[in-house]
Amino acid sequence: MRPETEGLFHELANRSADERAEFFRNHEVPADLRAEVETLLRFDAEGDHILTESIATAAAQSLNSEREGIQCGPYRLMRAVGRGGMGAVYLAERTDGEVRQQVAVKLLRYGGNEAGFRERFLRERQILAGLNHPGIVHLIDVGRTSDGQPYLAMDYIEGVPIDEYTRDLALRAKLDLFIRVCDAVSHAHRNLVVHRDIKPSNILVDAGGEPKLLDFGIAKLLGEESGIQGSLTLDAGAALTPDYAAPEQVTGEAVTTATDVYALGVLLFVLLTGQHPAGPGAHSRTALFRFIVESDPPHPSGVTASSKLQKALRGDLDTIVAKALKKSPRERYDSVAALAEDVSRYLKKQPILARPDSLGYRASKFVLRNRAAAALGALALIAALAGVAGTLLQARAAREERDFALRQVSRANAINDLNSFVLSDAAPSGKPFTVNDLLQRAEGIVEHENGRYNANRVELLISIGRQYQTQDEDAQARRVLEQAYQLSRPLAEASIRARASCALARTVADSGELPRAEALIKEGLRALPDEPQFNFDRVFCLTLGSGVAYTAGAGTQGIERADAALRLLKKSGFTSEREELDALTNLAEAYRFAGQQREAAAMFEQAAERMTLLGRDKTQAAGTLFNNWALALSQLGQPLEAEKIFRRAIDVSRDDRGEQAVSPMLLVNYARTLSDLGRQKEAADYAERGYAKAKQAGDEVVVNQSLLLRGVIYRAQGDVARAKEMLVEVEPRLRQALPPGHVAFASLTSEQALNARAANDLKTALDLSNQAVTMLEATLKKGGQGAEGLPTFLLRRADLELQLGRPRDAANDAGRGLRLVLEAAPTGTFSSRIGRAYLVLARALDAQGKQEEARDAARSAAAHFQNALGPEQADTRAAQQLAGLGSQNR
């Protein structure tokens, strides 16, 4: 490689395609040099995971081969033939003078409990060796090597794992194969053996196309004594992959034949779609545990790309998979035979026995709160009623926002290490473990193993702390991160000190200690030298700092930091699309928080495009993004656009059974937009559903929001009595949850005023309206939030004054309201809020006899409504009428 090549490569490496083209236009570069560099640049863009995986695999294989030649009882290991689910597998020969027999020998982890192991062996050996079925690989013997390591000897099978084998198979053939697998499992069940570890690598398909199941009951053989059956940890504590684990295995409850049904359900899903129910790609153990215990799996038909396959899968096959994958064992198929039977019926085109879930909210014992998508942008409905942007109803809503700040560039090593540490220690016998148990154990391990190497320890503590945060365990997170911070103080590595400061800052901000949080962020940023190798750490701190800033209400600073983070990421050249997307989304959120809805909307749109490009636009994260984008649009007064995007958010987060997987908050947000568009009946429907779900889930914030919204909707539908009921129900809830003087109460009063007006009690309405304005002005004077509500209240009062025949007061209020709204809006936006302000003013002017001015105002109103609401809306037509026909007094 010539120096010129190198130089040119580095010169161009971080430039975009356009910039490179520009460069070549402006510089004379010999053709051969250019070709060489362009080739290298092309290869630069690829990733190198294939290489690292190969190395790792080769390493594993090498180390396996170390054991060749070892004697295991009567068998001698000849050659490693790969790695099975539970250990290295070797081709072995029987050498005790008897018939030379080729078997497969699998070396297992050392048993922890010597006595227990022996007993179990003896007990189980008979049963397992007695399993005789063409689909089950025959277990010949179990024993121990002279080193004490347990081994299994079984028939040697040459075959391909079932997921590979079926990759290009037709649907019918796949299902046939699956049925045969079920038959084998059924046989074992009849002999009272549960497999407990059904997965593709344990199901080989031989040259004749016959499936052979491996490792029946081995999990139990090696599992703990009576206490836990089928725990996910084996004697030496190293865990099995939980990909196929059933909920009861994760939570440590009893394992039964239903557990195998579940695993077969997952297998069927994978065979049909090529991916795991939790989604494509790899998943961390913690993410998997959460998925298994909390999330409803999607339908296979919803996950495939090919529409032909979709049609085939939709309906019966979806139902079959769903029934096998029920969280509660009792709700699954009674037996594997029943599962096979239904699949068989499907193939014969007979009706299956499983019933699809009925529509309507299903109560489930597992919490459906989807933490990963928790940041759903709590737009206070009250605030929206009053036109207030971004007011947070309660502290909890604020916390839900922080997830964005938690997505950050993380040191892969630290997280990976954490995961391995967490699951490499033995579970205390007899006790089930939860994700929190694991985290606590992780702390203990970090304490123990890394006592001497403080830098690593701090890193791991930071990871643990952040994991607690995503689990909503704020007290734990705080404790751990404080510890990390303390430990980091004397360390030399600036990067670790900075990360510890910033990670702590976030959790401190969540507790409301904003000055300290800000100080920590500043400290973190200061600690980082201004050199490129600290870029990732800086991005980390800036991202967290952005969240701290806007939690403290410093919207502009929040934007600056998020923006700086994004630019830094782009510059560093080592980043991934995913990280950039996260940073972009974070920036959009910062804008939204700062009230700059137009910029926020623009960024959200960019982020959404990126997501689509990355193929991530059907994920939960996408759903959250769409929700927040739509909120920004709706706060901009663009309900037409907002409605479309909310639709997308709902589509992405639901599954085919209906809106069951959609969060109540999203339903209510959507309902509000529908109401803005005048589609009251639909709005009522969604709002009621949101209410019901929120009640079920105990989500107080959303219950309140939905009640208020329903009040608005019913009133719009003319049902004033019901509208009043809503307010009556919500008022005590608000009093309990919020401090007096909160903008919510002013909004409530304003709503009551509207109800009174709808009931034609104008005097009361005016009183209440005055109260609302006064209350809000008082709140604002004390520095409270809610300024955007003032124009709304003024305009409503103006409406009332008009009705009461006081046009001058009306014009004053309308004028003041309009001014406030115009100040707040970015120039050039079309907004229904502005439209409304103009319309009220137009009416007031008209009533005062000022026709020209009234028509002008009406025309402005019409223009805004036309664009923001559409030409068919009542408001649009009203404004046009006023603009065109003028006052009826003429």
């Binding site: 290298l40 050392y110 690598s201 190798q533």
Partner: protein, 181 residues
């Protein structure tokens, strides 16, 4: 003699110290790998980086090694790791060509070629790279086989991190190009 002391000498260019260190490290690596396997069986493929790190922890024991020494250790270990792995891959490859068939009892499928072939190709490409630029080859070796970070490599070779990253990046592109044929 203490490993840290040995490493320090190696850094100063002491060839004898190097000769002493290598078998020590090699033994330890193998012992550790075997123990690691027993603990780790059933999970994702062994991470070479974890292995090398652990070896370091074991060998160095109670001391608090200076950063410099750790890098030296990794620098040597990376070379050894590469040797071990490539040797083994070569043997397996030879077996295959002699007719002994491999059975796919693992779910590794998606690697395209067999990992051994990829590894051997990488080894050859690295040798070719070393002809052109010994520095780049060494950096790649330390990164892939030793799991060293840019900081650690920079420390070992007395180079700035920025330059290390640039060199590795170019080397990677070059290697991929070579191996794509």
């Amino acid at each position: 003699m203490e490993l840290t002391e040995l490493l320090r000498r190696v850094h100063e260019g002491d060839r004898e110290a190097l000769d002493e260190v290598i078998p020590l490290v090699y033994q330890e690596l193998k012992k550790l790998a075997a123990a690691h396997l027993q603990r780790e069986m059933g999970r994702e493929p062994l991470q070479t980086t974890a292995l090398v790190h652990e070896t370091f922890l074991r060998l160095v024991g109670m001391q608090h090694p200076s950063y410099a020494n750790r890098s030296h250790f990794y620098g040597i270990a990376s070379r050894l790791m590469r040797q071990i792995l490539v040797d083994a891959a070569r043997r397996r490859s030879a077996d295959k060509r002699n007719g002994a068939r491999q059975v796919a009892l693992t779910g590794l499928g998606d690697l395209g070629s067999q990992p051994d072939e990829v590894l051997l190709a990488l080894d050859e490409a690295l040798d070719r790279l070393a002809q052109i630029s010994p520095l780049k080859a060494q950096l790649v070796e330390m990164r892939y086989f030793g799991g060293m970070t840019a900081e650690e490599s920079g420390e070992f070779l007395t180079m700035s991190v920025h330059v290390v990253r640039r060199e590795i990046r170019l080397a990677q592109a070059w290697l991929r190009k070579e191996m794509a044929v």
